[in-house]
Symmetry: C2
Subunit: 407 residues, 2 copies
């Protein structure tokens, strides 16, 4: 068995399809987001503006977050020193979980090392708690949900994206007495469209199913206290489990679920991905808690965020570019080909100092390769002018379609 050749073949497949990922080495400068320094492969540096980050509100440089982290470092040191059960639970973890439970109006919350593992560990553990559980999953759910649902070989049904009628058909075809869970997202990150949360909750209640809502691309940004779309709609109390991240709008790292005390206790007790891993460092927990707390009261930042997204979409539409607009903060421009997407991204970076990573399969379906812009409160009008001019010039230069591909 020639293992090295097999590895080479696996890598070659990606090159051939134009979707081999090259990581761009960047370093953001505190206080100057979204400006950053790009270290090129040859070691030279170039100033750039990041237009594709998920630190949606710029909280990663907010003094309230950084001060909390400096203080925690000085008070308690670097890592937690253990799993949550074995010396790794601190007041920082407890305070963060209390903030998150409060954010979503739930009895409890449980912090994981990432929202990826929160989804994976929770969704793969629920069938142990509810034997015979059938999970109904939106076809565009995030990879971490799919991994959790697939693991352990539990029963699953996949419904067409946002198609409540299809979900209903699937529910009607199953044993009415079987335990059931419906898993979906509030904001789908690649198109920026919203899940029909209210309708899904109604169907779930009708069929006696639990609901699992991934709010990763909404927490901090939607709802009067940043509790996500479920808070905005006033139906968080009808969602059984809410999943969120501390690594995007909250600007730090980690993930969580918020749910009833009993649900959190059971997941805490049965999920290997929670039990057998070192807890997040107190310094990370402290920064995240400060961010969550701050954003509960900073509606002005949320408003500015939405305003910036609206303006960018309007201006890109003005150029006739094929953007997808579902009214969220995410601004995808469809190119539709992995090689073109990469070329445009490379030219934006090298010629204009604009960094937006190409998004290819398997992150999005083939034929919908795109540039995904994430305007934020720290992207000022002058930066937006630069982006608009560069996009206009590039689209003409490359003779790309305008508008035709828009969703």
């Amino acid at each position: 068995m020639d293992y090295d050749s097999a590895l080479g073949a696996a890598i070659d497949r990606l090159h051939k399809e134009g979707r081999y990922r090259t990581f761009i080495d960047i370093e953001r400068r505190r206080g100057q987001f979204p400006h950053a320094v790009w270290t090129k492969p040859d070691g030279t540096e170039q100033d750039i503006t990041v237009w594709c980050g998920n630190d949606y509100l710029g909280m990663g440089q907010h003094p309230v977050v950084l001060n909390a982290m400096h203080e925690a470092l000085d008070a308690t040191g670097a890592g937690s020193g253990g799993t949550r059960n074995i010396s790794g639970t601190t007041v920082y973890h407890k305070r963060l979980e209390a903030e998150l439970a409060d954010l979503h109006g739930k009895e409890a919350a449980l912090v994981f090392t990432s929202a990826y593992i929160a989804n994976d560990a929770t969704l793969s553990t629920l069938p142990k708690l509810f034997p015979g559980l059938i999970i109904y999953s939106d076809e565009l759910n995030h990879a971490s949900m799919i991994e959790g649902i697939r693991r352990n070989g539990g029963a699953k049904r996949v419904f067409r994206h946002n198609d409540v009628a299809h979900l209903r058909e699937l529910l009607e075809a199953d044993d009415p007495d079987a335990p059931k869970l419906i898993a979906f997202e509030s904001v789908y990150s690649m198109d920026g469209d919203f899940g029909p949360i209210a309708e899904l909750v109604e169907v779930a209640e009708e069929f006696g199913a639990l609901t699992y809502l991934d709010e990763v691309h909404a927490v901090g940004m939607y709802g009067p206290r940043g509790g996500g779309v479920s808070e905005q709609l006033g139906i968080a109390d009808r969602i059984d489990i809410i999943n969120g991240t501390l690594g995007k709008a909250f600007g730090v790292m980690g993930g969580y679920i918020a749910a009833s005390a009993r649900m959190c206790d059971a997941v805490r007790s049965y999920a290997p991905g929670f039990i057998f891993t070192t807890s997040i460092p107190p310094v990370v927990a402290a920064g995240a808690a400060a961010s969550v707390r701050h954003l509960k009261g900073d509606q002005a930042l949320r408003d500015l965020h939405q305003e910036r997204a609206r303006v960018l979409k309007m201006r890109l539409k003005g150029l006739g570019l094929p953007i997808v607009d579902h009214g969220s903060h995410i601004v995808p421009v469809i190119v539709g080909d992995p090689v073109h997407t990469k070329i445009i991204s490379d030219m934006l970076l090298a010629d204009h100092g604009i960094y937006v990573q190409p998004i290819n399969y398997p992150t999005v379906p083939r034929g919908t390769e795109r540039l995904r812009f994430t305007p934020s409160p720290v992207h000022d009008p002058k930066m937006m002018d630069g982006l608009i001019q560069a996009m206009d010039a590039l689209w003409s230069h490359c003779a790309l379609n305008r508008a035709e591909l828009a969703g």
Copy 2:
């Protein structure tokens, strides 16, 4: 379906078996490790000494680590702002991966959010890279390896713990041309015993199998530069993939694999658990890199660590207590019953200010419930006197066996 009752039943099962986990809320004080403050359920505080942490060398309070973290916070802010592919690769991540590749004498390294996810993601991705792969797994491998091997339903064989003859039987029974991988650990954390790495490598070479070595409880502590037991034995170059953690001896958080450039590139490109998750914060990467770099040169700290473990084991043996001693830094005292273990742990904490978490099933087999002590360079002789006196008194008080249960 009454979901709440099902959750209650799942939790009750743990209570009945005496293995419901109660997290102890502690806060270590920087510069005073292993001292910490325990916040009791009633809100009052008590000074304690932590004897069960995995910050084995006290690096979580080392100035070189904390300074690197403060500097990174000031320079670049809190979180990374994205996945590795989408704006989340920084010079901090690249420097850390270069340190780790160098540590193990490998071409490359890949950092994950935890060693748990490094194991899970890598082991579940290898069957995609080598179709038909059979994984041979030591029966006492860590939960994260088991999860990774089980996921996706790939072929697996479980060999008896450290039983090279059994492994050989299993290898002989399989198709000689099938791709194979042997997965094992260098230090098994619950008994503190070593894997027969040299013999396992020989068998792997004989049968043309890849080797996967989890060095989570060895990196930083063994080998002349902290490269783990494989470095100590001088056979790291014959291990294909080395897994390690940044959250134990290195004192921070995160995990990694070190391997050939091609192997890392393929795992990087195909593992959902690497691709679809926010990268570790630059501040965490900076602290971890500083720790790895420092420990490459601090043999005195490693020597003191081993010395402290030797002395503790000698003194516990002197009392006739049933300790397991395989010559590593881990000191398990077998109690053999979950309820007794919990009572002793509670009494040590409340009456003596000594914190050692009870270790129960499923972390260890039923009937081998234990207290697991992790002496470190920061546990001085006076603290050890206190521990020895408390253990002696408690063992007499509870009329527990001495020596009989020792492994």
